[in-house]
Amino acid sequence: MRSVCKILIAWLGVCLMPSVAIAQATTPAIQEIDNTTCKTCHVAYEGHKVNSYHSDCKACHSVIDPKHLVEGGKGRMKFPASENCLSCHQNNDHKRMNWAFSSHKQAQVECRDCHGMHSPKQPKQFNLALWKTDKKSAACMDCHQDVAARLNMPSHHPVKEGALSCVSCHDPHGGKQTSLTNKNDQCYKCHQAIRGPKVFEHAPVVEDCTICHNPHGSPNRRLLQIAQPMQCLQCHSITNNRHATAGVPNGAQLRNCTNCHGAIHGSHIDARLKH
C-alpha cells in the first residue's frame, strides 16, 4: 500500500512538474511583458519612431502565445487584423467608416498590407523608372501589377511621372457599393471642360467615360480603348455620301473621326459635334 502511495505521489509530481514549470515560465513572463521585453528580441524596432498611439506593442499585438516567450521566440504571434486598427481609425473618419463594405476588405486585404505601423511601408519593386512616382502609387503597384503595366503603355495617365497618384482617382478604403461618386463624376474632378453642361451631348460621354477610354493606359492615342475608327464604328455607320468615295469607305476620313468631329465630348452649337 505504501509503495502504491509513493508511486501515486511520484506520478502526481511528474504530472504536475511540467505544468508548474510552464506556469512559472508563463504567467510571470506574460505579466511582465512590456515594450522593453519585445525589443529585447525585436531590436530592429528599438529605434523606430512611431506615433505615440502606436508605440505600445501590446495595443496591437494583444494576443500572445506563451511559447513565444518561453521557447526562445518560437510560437505563433497574431498580427493585428483590420478590426484592431479600426477600433481607433473608424470613428470620426468618413474615409474609413465604410471599410467593412470596401473592395479591399472583400478581397481580404488587411490594413498592414498597405500601411506600415512601425515605419513607412516601402514598395517592394524599386524600378528606377518609377523614381518620380509617389510612394502611395508605387505601393499600389506592388499588387496591381496589371495596372502598373498599363501605366507603362504609350498613352497613360501620368502616374509614374508623379503628376498624379492612384489615390487621386481611387479611394483605397472605399468600394463601389458605398461610393456616392458616379464614375464620370470622378473624371470630372479634373476634366471640368468636358463635363459641360453642353447643348448637344454625346451619349457615351454622358453614360460612362470608360466606354471609350481606359484611364490607366492604352496602346492607342488619347487613352482610347480601341483605336479610331473601330471605336466609333461600333455604334455608328458610314454614310456613303460623306465618308465614302464611289461606295468605298474613305481611308483619309476613316483614320481619325475626330479630325472632323472635333467636339466629340459635346458642343454648344453643332448637333453633329464638329465644333
Partner: protein, 819 residues
C-alpha cells in the same frame, strides 16, 4: 511484486510522456493579455516609463492600450465601444514578419493612449527634434532623333524638360528635393516635402498635426505635351491625309507648327479640428482645392454646308475651305471649398456630412466663327457676318460652371453581427456663362419662346448596405444603389435646340438617366485551406428618358440608332480566396453576366469574366506571383432598321475579348542583393459589324448595308528586370531594364485596306517598342552626406510611324545633406 514494479515504472513513464506532449502541443493556449497590466517596479525602462494600472475598460483584442504615466491618465475609449465584428470573417493570417526597414532616428515615444483621431491625448513634454534632408540635383538631358525641335518628341509627351538656356532638346537644369520633419515624443508635428524634376514637374506638401488640429497644404505643377503627338497625325502632317477631290481634298492648317503643351498647376489646403477639441465626438475640416490649366491644343473641325442654305449651319462657298484646324488656347481655373464633419456620438454610430462649392471658369478667348476663324483666313462665305447668329456662334465653347454638392452618410453596428450603412448625395451643376452668351448672341426672346439657353445638370445618388454575420463562419450582405442624372438644361430653345426645327436635334436628347443596382452575397469560411467562398448576384436596371427629333427634319429616329432606353442585366459571381499553406495565396473570381436589354452596344448582352491569382511568399522573403484575367463580352441585342427601301433590321454584333496575364518575382539571392523580374501581357480583341448607309441616318430613305466585320487586335508585352546591390557599407548600386512592345492591326478587311491606302502603316498598324535602361548609385561621403547619381536611357521605336522614333539620355547627380 514484479507486477507492481512494472506498474510503478510504466505509469510515471506514460505520465512524463504525456506531460512532454502537452508542453510540445502546437496548438497554443492563447492568453488574452490585458494591456493594462503593471510592469514590475524593478524593471528598468529603456524607452518607456513603467506602465501604471488603469481601469480595464476595453474588450480584448480590439481596443487600444490605455496605459499611461502618472500623473496624467488618459481616459480609455468608452467601455460601450465594442469590438467591431467583421461582416466577412476572415481567417487571421499568420504573416511572416516583415523584415525591419531602415530605422528612423531614435526617439523616446510616449506611451500610447486614446485613439488615432486624438481622443484622450497624453502629453510628454520633450524638445522637438528636427531632421532634414536636402538634395540639390543637377540634371543633364539629351533628346535625340525624333521629329524636330519645333514639334513634340515622342518621349517628351510625359517628360517635358527645359534647361537653363531654354533648350528643350539638350540642356542642363537643376532642382532640389527637401524632406523636413519636426517631431516630438508623440508624433511628427510638422512635415515639409518637395520633389523637383525641373521647372515643369515638381510638387510639394506641408503638414502640421498635433492632438487637436491638423493643417496641410500641397501643390504640384506638371506639363504634358501629348497634344503635340496628336498634331503629328493631323491631315497635313501625314502623306495622303486628305481625299483627292471632293469636300475633303484640302485641310487648312490655320495653326501652323506649334509646341503644343498643357500646364496643370494644382494646389490645396486643409484644416482639421480633431475630436479632442470637440468633446471626443466629432471632427471638422475645411478643405480647399484648385488648379490652373493653361496651354494650347490643336483643334481640327469641319464646317457644314447643308443642302439648304441658310440652314442650320454656316455656309462656306468653297468646299476646300471647310476642313480646318486651329490652335485652341486653354485657360482654365477651378476652385473648390468643402466643409466636412464626422461624428461618432458615444461610438454608437458614425455619421458624416459634406458640402462643397466648386467654381470652374474658362478664360479662353470666346471664339466667334466669323471674326476669329473665317475672316482672318479670307474664307468666302454666304450669309455669315460678324453680327448675325451664324457669325457670332461660339466655337469650341467651354462654359463657366458652378457645382454644389452635398453628401450624408451614416453607418451603425448592431451588436457583433449586423452592420448597416446608408448614404445620399445631391449635386447641382449650373452653367454660369452660356445664358448671357446666348442672349447676347441671339438678342431678345421672340414672343412665347425662350431664345436663350441655360445649362443645368442635377444628380442624386444613394446607397444602402447591410451585412449580417449569421454565424461565425457565415455572413450575408446586401446592397442597393440608386443614381439619377437629370438634364435640367433649357429645352426646347428656338434657334438653339429644338425637336421640330430641322437639324436641331440630330441625335436624341438625354433628359434623364435613372439606375438602380442591387444585389446579395453570401460568404462562407468552410474551415479548409484557410479559404473564404463568396457567392453573389446583382442586377442593374437603368432607364433613360430620351427625346427624339421630329421625323423628316434631319433627326435620327429610334430605329436608326443603336441607343436604347433600357438596360436590364444580371451578374452572378463566385469569389474564392484560399491560403492552403503558409505563404500561399490563391484567388479565383469567375462571373457571368446576362442582359435582357442593353442600352448601348458597349454593354454586354452576355459576358464571362474570370480573374485568377496565385502568389507565394517564402519565409526567406522572396515572392513569386502570377495572375491571369479573361473577359469576353458579346452583344447582338441592338439593331438598325431601314427607314426606306426593304425595311430590314440589322443587328450590330460586338464580340470583345480581353486577356491579361503576368508573372512577378522578387528574390534576395544574397543578403546584399534584392532583385525583381516581371512579365506582363495584355491582348484586346474586338470585332464588330461595319454598316454603311446610302444617305444620312436622319434621311427618311436611309437603307443600311452590312459590308464587313473588321477586327481590332493588339497585343502589349512588357518585361522588367532589375536589382539593387549593397556593394559596400557606403555604396549601393541599382540597375533595371524594361522592355515594352505593342503590336497589332487596328482593323481588318475593308477598313484596314482603306487605312493602308491612305497613310500606309501610320493609322492601320500599332507596332512600337520602348526600351528603358537605368543605373543608379548612392555613395555615403560622410555619415550626413550621400552622393546620388542616376542615369536613364529610353529609346522609342515606332515601326508604324517612324517619324516618332527617338530616344533620351538623362543623367542626374545630387548630394543629399542630412541635418
Amino acid at each position: 511484486m514484479k507486477l507492481r514494479t512494472t506498474f510503478g515504472w510504466v505509469l510515471p513513464s506514460l505520465t512524463v510522456l504525456a506531460a512532454s506532449l502537452q508542453a510540445a502541443d502546437v496548438s497554443p493556449v492563447w492568453v488574452e493579455y490585458p494591456s493594462t497590466s503593471p510592469a514590475p517596479a524593478s524593471r528598468t525602462e529603456k524607452t518607456l516609463p513603467a506602465a501604471a494600472a488603469t481601469p480595464a475598460a476595453t474588450t480584448p483584442a480590439s481596443a487600444p492600450a490605455a496605459s499611461s504615466t502618472a500623473p496624467v491618465v488618459a481616459a480609455p475609449p468608452p467601455a460601450t465601444q465594442t469590438a467591431p465584428a467583421a461582416p466577412q470573417l476572415s481567417a487571421a493570417p499568420v504573416s511572416t514578419m516583415t523584415p525591419p526597414l531602415a530605422a528612423a532616428p531614435v526617439q523616446t515615444p510616449a506611451p500610447a493612449n486614446g485613439n488615432g483621431n486624438g481622443n484622450g491625448a497624453q502629453q510628454t513634454p520633450t524638445a522637438p527634434v528636427v531632421t532634414a534632408v536636402i538634395t540639390p540635383r543637377l540634371f543633364l538631358f539629351d533628346y535625340f532623333k525624333g521629329v524636330g525641335e519645333d514639334k513634340t518628341h515622342f518621349l517628351e509627351r510625359y517628360d517635358y524638360r527645359e534647361g537653363f538656356s531654354s533648350d528643350t532638346r539638350t540642356d542642363v537644369f537643376a532642382d532640389v528635393d527637401l524632406d523636413l520633419t519636426i517631431s516630438n515624443a508623440d508624433r511628427d508635428l510638422f512635415v515639409l516635402e518637395r520633389q523637383g524634376f525641373g521647372q515643369h514637374n515638381h510638387r510639394g506638401k506641408a503638414k502640421f498635426s498635433d492632438d487637436e488640429i491638423a493643417f496641410s497644404a500641397q501643390y504640384s505643377h506638371y506639363r504634358s505635351a501629348t497634344g503635340g503627338i496628336d498634331f503629328l497625325f493631323s491631315p497635313n502632317e501625314v502623306a495622303v491625309g486628305t481625299v483627292p477631290g471632293g469636300p475633303y481634298q484640302t485641310f487648312n492648317d490655320d495653326a501652323g507648327r506649334f509646341d503644343y503643351h498643357v500646364d496643370r498647376t494644382s494646389y490645396g489646403a486643409s484644416f482639421k479640428v480633431k475630436p479632442t477639441l470637440l468633446g471626443g465626438v466629432a471632427a471638422v475640416s475645411i478643405d480647399y482645392d484648385g488648379y490652373m490649366r493653361e496651354g494650347n491644343k490643336f483643334a481640327p473641325f469641319y464646317l457644314d454646308n447643308p443642302a439648304t442654305c441658310p440652314g442650320s449651319g454656316p455656309c462656306i462657298t468653297n468646299d476646300a475651305d471647310k476642313w480646318r484646324g486651329i490652335n485652341l488656347g486653354i485657360d482654365e481655373r477651378m476652385n473648390k471649398v468643402a466643409f466636412n464633419i464626422d461624428a461618432s456620438p458615444k461610438g454608437l454610430f458614425n455619421i458624416n456630412y459634406n458640402v462643397s462649392l466648386e467654381k470652374f471658369t474658362s478664360g479662353t478667348a470666346d471664339l466667334k466663327l466669323f471674326d476669329d476663324i473665317l475672316s482672318p483666313q479670307g474664307v468666302a462665305v454666304t450669309d455669315i457676318t460678324s453680327t448675325n447668329r451664324r457669325g457670332l456662334a461660339p466655337f469650341f465653347y467651354v462654359p463657366d460652371t458652378s457645382l454644389v454638392s452635398q453628401t450624408l452618410q451614416l453607418n451603425q453596428r448592431f451588436g457583433h453581427t449586423f452592420l448597416l450603412a446608408l448614404g445620399y448625395s445631391h449635386s447641382s451643376l449650373e452653367d454660369d456663362s452660356s445664358h448671357p452668351r446666348f442672349t447676347a448672341l441671339f438678342g431678345g426672346p421672340p414672343p412665347g419662346l425662350p431664345d436663350s439657353w441655360e445649362g443645368e445638370i442635377t444628380t442624386d445618388s444613394a446607397f444602402l448596405n447591410a451585412s449580417w454575420n449569421a454565424r461565425s463562419n457565415l455572413g450575408v450582405e446586401g446592397f442597393v444603389k440608386y443614381y439619377q442624372r437629370d438634364n435640367g438644361s433649357s429645352f426646347p430653345v428656338e434657334n438653339v435646340i429644338s425637336p421640330t426645327a430641322p437639324g436641331q436635334l440630330v441625335a436624341p436628347r438625354i433628359n434623364d438617366i435613372t439606375s438602380i443596382d442591387y444585389g446579395l452575397a453570401a460568404n462562407w469560411r468552410p474551415g479548409v485551406m484557410g479559404s473564404t467562398v463568396t457567392l453573389g448576384w446583382h442586377r442593374l436596371d437603368r432607364e433613360r428618358d430620351l427625346t427624339f427629333g421630329a421625323a423628316a427634319a434631319e433627326h435620327i429616329l429610334p430605329g436608326q440608332t443603336l441607343y436604347r432606353e433600357d438596360t436590364l442585366s444580371d451578374e452572378a459571381y463566385l469569389k474564392l480566396i484560399a491560403r492552403p499553406a503558409k505563404g500561399w495565396n490563391i484567388r479565383l473570381t469567375p462571373s457571368y453576366t446576362w442582359a435582357d436589354k442593353t442600352g448601348l452596344v458597349s454593354e454586354p448582352e452576355e459576358a464571362l469574366q474570370v480573374k485568377s491569382l496565385v502568389s507565394y511568399t517564402a519565409p526567406a522573403g522572396w515572392l513569386a506571383s502570377g495572375f491571369y484575367d479573361y473577359t469576353r463580352k458579346q452583344n447582338a441585342n441592338n439593331t438598325f432598321l431601314d427607314a426606306g427601301g426593304p425595311g430590314l433590321t440589322y443587328s450590330q454584333d460586338i464580340d470583345s475579348t480581353l486577356h491579361s496575364a503576368g508573372l512577378t518575382f522578387n528574390v534576395m539571392p544574397v543578403d546584399t542583393v534584392n532583385a525583381f523580374a516581371n512579365l506582363f501581357w495584355v491582348q484586346n480583341d474586338l470585332s464588330s459589324y461595319l454598316f454603311q448607309t446610302n444617305t444620312e441616318r436622319w434621311n427618311p430613305g436611309v437603307i443600311f448595308s452590312l459590308i464587313d466585320r473588321p477586327n481590332y487586335k493588339v497585343d502589349t508585352y512588357s518585361l522588367g528586370i532589375g536589382a539593387d546591390w549593397q556593394a559596400r557599407d557606403k555604396l549601393k548600386l541599382r540597375g533595371s531594364y524594361t522592355f515594352s512592345k505593342s503590336t497589332g492591326d487596328v482593323a481588318t478587311g475593308v477598313v484596314l485596306t482603306e487605312l493602308q491606302n491612305a497613310t500606309g502603316t501610320i493609322d492601320s498598324k500599332i507596332d512600337n517598342t520602348l526600351h528603358s535602361i537605368s543605373f543608379g548609385a548612392d555613395y555615403s561621403l560622410t555619415p550626413k552626406a550621400k552622393l546620388r547619381a542616376n542615369y536613364l536611357y529610353d529609346y522609342y521605336d515606332d515601326d508604324a510611324y517612324s517619324l516618332l522614333n527617338g530616344g533620351v539620355h538623362m543623367l542626374s547627380i545630387g548630394v543629399s545633406f542630412k541635418m
